[in-house]
Symmetry: C2
Subunit: 127 residues, 2 copies
């Protein structure tokens, strides 16, 4: 029997050539909502501030309304929070993930899993 | 209106740390079935023979039965074809893709698309 979580599902939403939403950006939005700043979210995700800022900038350029609102004021970089559009888009993306995940875990996947080894065989020594 | 195909869905099946099936491996199986050899499939996909061979080797080690059968005999590398297991796994993966794709194109995605721009806004000059 293959383990139940053999499935890896990656959902991306594209806007032109840019990725408007995906697993990493959604996690960053969750972290911003939890931490209250882009710098705090970057720290929590072990990501550079610059990378987090670039991801936020890409999201804010891809959607009709900015997903993240920043406010100046604090000593270092100010606070950040999800806009109402940010909350709607994040919730919608999570709902899409949950729907597809639940749809995927049906008979088709069970049939595939029954043919899958638990661990790969070793490579041939002369490969 | 965002374009209808903003969605990019990537489905992978893992076996331990290896990717047993995914978009590239499924396309390679299709190409092997069409071309009748690994070298022909590699050419058709503009991929090196070595890379195609490594992908086939990974698949053959991840599934209980080999997905690709090779036969010696031809001048250069011999022929290759899908085994019965290879055909089942490829068909199952394609069916899973089709099911998830059709499930994804519903109200949740329509709501997200309605918030998506058609093209991203330009980066700020001082970004």
């Amino acid at each position: 029997m293959a383990k139940a979580d053999s499935l890896k599902l990656k959902i991306q939403l594209l806007c032109g050539d840019e990725i408007a939403m995906g697993p990493g950006k959604a996690d960053l939005l969750d972290a911003i909502a939890a931490q209250g700043s882009i710098s705090g979210a970057a720290r929590a995700m072990d990501m550079s501030y610059r990378r987090a800022w670039l991801l936020v900038d890409a999201m804010n350029r891809c959607w009709r309304e900015p997903l993240v609102e920043t406010s100046p004021g604090r000593a270092k970089g100010g606070g950040a929070r999800l806009s109402p559009a940010g909350r709607r888009v994040l919730d919608g993306y999570r709902a899409l993930q949950a729907t597809l995940d639940s749809t995927a875990h049906g008979d088709l996947l069970a049939d595939l899993n029954s043919e899958l080894r638990q661990e790969p065989k070793a490579r041939a020594a002369d490969a």
